[in-house]
């Protein structure tokens, strides 16, 4: 098995089923819980790129990579609005310093229930809490890459 899966980001919501199938296929020889977590993380990250209109043709990809004892799920897409990037960085920082990621996830569930908006904004918290990933974001002005990393065991 190669150690990297690269999938061009779809712009259609209906393509998420295929994205999940490809990630599951790629990780079929890893432990079930790792593979499940990666499928969920990839789906949430790709969905965000579609949702915020930053996916589509070009150098916009989902990359799933095994690096030694770690697994990295990364989505790189066209940079969106600055306000969106600021929000993303704030969320990533909040997750990074959280003493208890599960409690933070529950807190954002409570916030989402009170907000009653069209979007729940729970995806990154879910990736960290349910998937056991740490999350980072890098933006070079034209592309934003969001990476979720965890150990393979």
């Amino acid at each position: 098995m190669t150690d990297t899966l690269v999938v061009e980001l779809p712009s259609l919501w209906s393509a998420l089923v295929d994205v999940r199938a490809k990630v599951a296929q790629f990780l079929q020889s890893t432990p079930e819980d790792v593979s499940d977590a990666a499928v969920m993380a990839a789906s949430e990250l790709v969905e965000n790129a579609i949702k915020y209109g930053t996916s589509g043709k070009g150098d916009n990809t989902l990359q799933v990579k095994i690096e030694g004892a770690d697994l990295r799920v990364q989505v790189c897409s066209r940079s969106g609005a600055i306000s969106r990037l600021d929000e993303l960085k704030k969320t990533v920082d909040e997750i990074r310093v959280a003493p208890d990621i599960h409690e933070l996830y529950l807190e954002h569930m409570r916030i989402s229930a009170q907000r009653q908006s069209r979007q729940t904004q729970l995806g990154l918290y879910r990736i960290a809490a349910e998937g056991g990933f740490s999350i980072s974001v890098v933006d070079n002005g034209t592309r934003t890459c969001v990476a979720a990393t965890r150990s393979l065991s």
Binding site: R20, E47, L106, M109, S112, A113, Q116, R118, T120, R126
Partner: protein, 120 residues
Amino acid sequence: MNTAQPVGLAVACQEMVFSLTGQGDVQDVTALRKQLLDIHASALSQHARVVRVNLADVEFMNSTGLGAFVSWIAELQKVATAERYKIELHGSSGRRWQRSSLHSLAAFGPLDVSVHFREA
């Protein structure tokens, strides 16, 4: 005097059951949230004790879909304890996303939500 006593009939639906199927790539939480809140209103008006949700055939659910369930549980938590029903989430052990996500919902509503798995 022979006065007829009113018969104290109360009709209670003890259990409501519904199923969701398919891919839960929910784009906008509004529609699913409304469906679940309609079920909530119906369960309260019928004095249901349990609402059983069969999710065994839901292949995946995104965080937006989970958010609709969160809204439902939060609504239930606003109801006086004695008036509340229980939410039972029934999944399949073969749908592996459910193991963590349904337990997250149960953690959000520990007194109101329970999770049950059937073998795939």
